[in-house]
Symmetry: C2
Subunit: 133 residues, 2 copies
Amino acid sequence: MQIHIQAQGGVPIYLQVMQQIKYLVASGRLQPGDELPSIRTLAEQLIVNPNTIARAYRELETAGVVEKRRTAGTFVAEAGSPLARKERLKLLKQRVDQLLVEAFQMGFGLDEVLKFVEQSELNSQPPGKDSKP
Amino acid sequence: MQIHIQAQGGVPIYLQVMQQIKYLVASGRLQPGDELPSIRTLAEQLIVNPNTIARAYRELETAGVVEKRRTAGTFVAEAGSPLARKERLKLLKQRVDQLLVEAFQMGFGLDEVLKFVEQSELNSQPPGKDSKP
DNA sequence: ATTACTGTATCGATCTATTGATACAGTTCT
DNA sequence: AGAACTGTATCAATAGATCGATACAGTAAT
């Protein structure tokens, strides 16, 4: 699995690992059911402490991205996050507002944000399964 | 100025102040040229150390949101951020991708993200002044 | 000159996050 | 049974962020 870590930069290693795995899943390069490298394997590959990878996997499981099977390994989870729809909507609204504030601050307009959203490499994603709950 | 701080919650005070001022500017409730409360005034109002507000203002200035005039006070900056357009585009793309990853992870589709962007309360913002550079 | 207001700088205490060293517990296969 | 692999738990060291106390420096009006 292609993961690259920057020791410099202030971003915690476990977060970098989380983000990159999230991207791999969101872009479809990791499919539900796929097995991730074992904690120790990835730790050796990145030359970090196993605890660090363990933490990344643990939080990814809490977030519903991966699923751990006791002695078998860690796998990409099947379904989406288990959060209630209302909670997710609230979160999404927050994220969108944050993005827009930053965009406006940078001098961009709504149209440009929309363009970026439409043109994202990630746009091949299947539509949400609960557009109408 | 209406700013509310939560001591609990783990979010640093100076960040809360920054975010809320950014929102006030992005939503137009603070206009370019408007004067912000002095560091001490706001510090007393929120019952925090002046250093904390000073830090918020300092970082807002670095971000190009406000402008400090030595002995006169702190004001909302005129232009957008001074970053080069290429840099801003890169940043914006990153932000959008992050948002989409989170949205997909939560089980939402592109269409729903677009809907949220279009329906945001912030959409009354003037369009970016450099749509065509 | 004094007072009252701006923002600035320095130092230190404290707390939290992050990472690492190391030992543990369970399953699977030989 | 034993080896080799999963993920787990505990504890300590370190580094960094955050915030506060306090003193400084400049301008403007009295």
